[in-house]
Chain length 315, copies 2
């Protein structure tokens, strides 16, 4: 059994085409029905404003599977600690023995989450997309754009964030990466000329409405990952020509399908894995509006952990 | 963060009164409603005849919580490997940071499972219990008796096992520990004079019936821990004067309440934690028959992991 720590993992695994291919292959296996993926185990530690999630999945026939433990303790910043932590355990799918523990402190989650956004855009956004509106200015606001650049020639970012200073710091970082960045005072203004909109906030109220969507836009909503959070108004879902999610059950419990309040969706709900596996073409023209809701799936964790381990051991 | 391996853990933690008190305190907290204990996460790895379970629980206000991963790969013996493995992660309940990883390979599960049997007997079996019938001859058949000796003056074991050779090997081991041991060819004969009956098999069919129960006996059924397994016929449940389980929901899905096939129980279902917390006296006389169904709970894992860590760091 091998143990790997954050710095070694971060040196070995990047947001690149190899990692993207690994995560995309995981989604495709999910779409082909080749993945066992139990519901997320989730536990609240209320007295510390914390929660811990456990995700796993097994791709049938794969040599290894991963189990990820993600604690989120939202008072940690007051203690000078990051909110998000965690680790991934990699097990032999033949014997159940631990092959490795990746003490990545959440790094691989950042990577696989960003890559899922890029994968969604690859299959849904206009190929000539150049301009991204980003709602939120946290870690994923950076990573999502970094990943999008693997699949589209992004040159401009329009950012809106609840706190102006956060948007300014973000703009500076992204300009340092060769992007034109505009800061906006409203969601509507940020989205007005977007080819792609990425929502990356912990919002508990909708912040994007149908009237914010320009023609032909693709939206990736990756902020909502728990029963309390949501970013999209119901009108965004019904306005979309194609609504895709990573897994329907999770979108209903933790993601944007909660907007329907348990009602039957008045539109077809696609799953990203099947879109990939079946080569579904949901964008019919440059005017098609697509929405992808990402809640985070165990198969992404199993895929990125297996990929990380193969990079780390050099096979 | 500290890492501990099997041998160090097995040297520090034993089936003793200290460990028993820790697990009993966990059950009592559960009984007082002070424990957050999400449903077990379970995933099958069918092509390897394997499964992996994740259990966790948090005792409100406790400094730490544990998450246990238990793989069971039942073709491993053909490869010269044990079927059961696993590890426990101990997290700070204040920050979510990993305090320690206990690579115990299932050792602490053996201990906390045996201790739960002793705790059940302490609260349910006659105080003058001396004679134990053990069904099954595996690891828990040994550990359960070892733990029972903490709470009752056990001097005689009556063993029945599906394979005669297994029963003989078991008898030799237990005689080496100063016990009188009788091997029986039938469950009924093994149980005939028992003060306590412990069922420790992976049976998928009932093997204990009401007519096997002597007056005043206490039964601990600890073998069934999954939807397929069961050891007690429904007649045992209805014959009992008091039926106790570790958690009702788990007994219904993974334990002996499955015998009811989803019907409403025609008897009161007690939970061990509340029996302890409220000092319930379910044994009214030397003729009372008590049954306790143990499926294994996250709070036992959190309790034993915290105890182990305190022993290991010497606090």
């Amino acid at each position: 059994m091998q143990l790997y720590h954050h710095d070694a993992i971060a040196a070995a695994v990047h947001i690149d085409h190899g990692a993207l291919a690994a995560v995309e292959a995981g989604f495709a296996a999910l779409g082909r029905g080749e993945v066992v993926q139990p519901p997320i185990l989730s536990m609240a530690i209320e007295e510390s404003n914390g929660e811990v999630d456990v995700k796993t999945a097994h791709i049938r026939g794969a040599e290894r599977f991963a189990i990820k433990v993600s604690p989120g303790f939202f008072d940690n910043p007051k203690l000078g600690l990051p909110s998000l932590n965690g680790l991934m355990m990699v097990f032999s799918a033949k014997t159940g023995l631990v092959d490795a523990v990746l003490f990545d402190a959440g790094y691989l989650t950042l990577v696989r989450t960003a890559l899922a956004g890029a994968i969604a855009a690859r299959h849904l956004a206009r190929t000539n997309s150049r301009r991204v509106a980003v709602l939120g200015a946290g870690e994923q606001a950076e990573r999502q754009v970094e990943a999008l650049r693997l699949v589209r020639d992004i040159d401009t970012v329009d950012v809106w964030a609840r706190r102006r200073e956060a948007a300014e710091a973000y703009a500076e970082t992204m300009r340092g990466r060769g992007l034109a960045v505009n800061i906006h005072d409203s969601v509507h203004a940020a989205c007005e000329r977007a080819d792609i909109i990425v929502t990356t906030t912990p919002s508990r109220e909708p912040l994007l409405w149908a009237q914010d969507l320009p023609e032909g836009v693709h939206v990736t909503a990756m902020g909502s990952d728990s029963p309390e959070k949501r970013e999209l108004d119901e009108s965004v879902l019904t306005r979309a020509d194609a609504f895709v999610c990573d897994t329907r059950a999770q979108s209903e419990s933790n993601g944007e399908l909660k907007a329907l309040g348990g009602k039957e969706a008045p539109f077809k709900v696609h799953e990203l894995g099947r879109v990939i596996a079946e080569g579904q073409r949901l964008r019919l023209s440059d005017a098609t509006i697509t929405v992808c809701d990402l809640t985070g799936t165990g198969v992404q964790d199993t895929a990125i952990a297996g990929f990380a381990l193969s990079r780390l051991v050099g096979d």
